[in-house]
Assembly symmetry: C2
Homo-oligomer: 113 residues x 2
Amino acid sequence: MATELPFKRGAIELLILKTLSWGPMHGYAIAKWIEDTTDDALSVEEGSLYPALHRLENKGLIEPSWGVSENNRQAKFYSLTADGRRALRAETESWALYSAAISKVVNATKQPA
Amino acid sequence: MATELPFKRGAIELLILKTLSWGPMHGYAIAKWIEDTTDDALSVEEGSLYPALHRLENKGLIEPSWGVSENNRQAKFYSLTADGRRALRAETESWALYSAAISKVVNATKQPA
DNA sequence: AAAGACCCCTTGCAAATCTAGGTATCAACG
DNA sequence: CGTTGATACCTAGATTTGCAAGGGGTCTTT
């Protein structure tokens, strides 16, 4: 009974890039891995997944190539491009700053000036 | 020169609720306080701020009343309602779960199964 | 033969942030 | 006294993006 946590802006793309940093993977497996890794706290809907993959491809951050999945089905394997690796670093850093900033407010204990 | 960190979905509302937990405050001051507290890592645009305030008001989470600001100007002071306090608790918890889940993926070091 | 998991996709809605404008008041400065 | 800058509020429109709800097809298991 996972608490359904809707994705915020841009989060899916970051997670996809991170997932692909392990090596080429197809969309369905990417979604599964994210769900597994977060103990189903986050669920990656296909209606969010595939558009996100296409956006990343259009931006030149990932590259597709057809292959055969571990279950013997046709599948599109995506791999990170050099730009994709750069974007992953940038967005990871950005996420760290962002979540730190939010936490700073949420955990504030002092009155405003 | 703060790194511009665009807000994700729903984040502004959480920060506004948190800010108002200190007591009634007007919109302009809320924005300033958030920017100060985060050392300008987050900047609260007025085009995001006021619609967010109106949304919160429509949901019954905050309540406005006109008064005079510390700079001797007419200002709309918002205060948390009981529902607003509940929402603050709920969204704080939700943010903690969400950011933990994202971090779990972003900081993962092991290969997927 | 049927069911269910696997794997891809698109359309269209809804929500929310930001850009770019606008109005008005007050204090301070030249 | 006129102008500038900070204060304080607002909205319209563009853009983005997550998601619900559909669709298609393949492979395995029962």
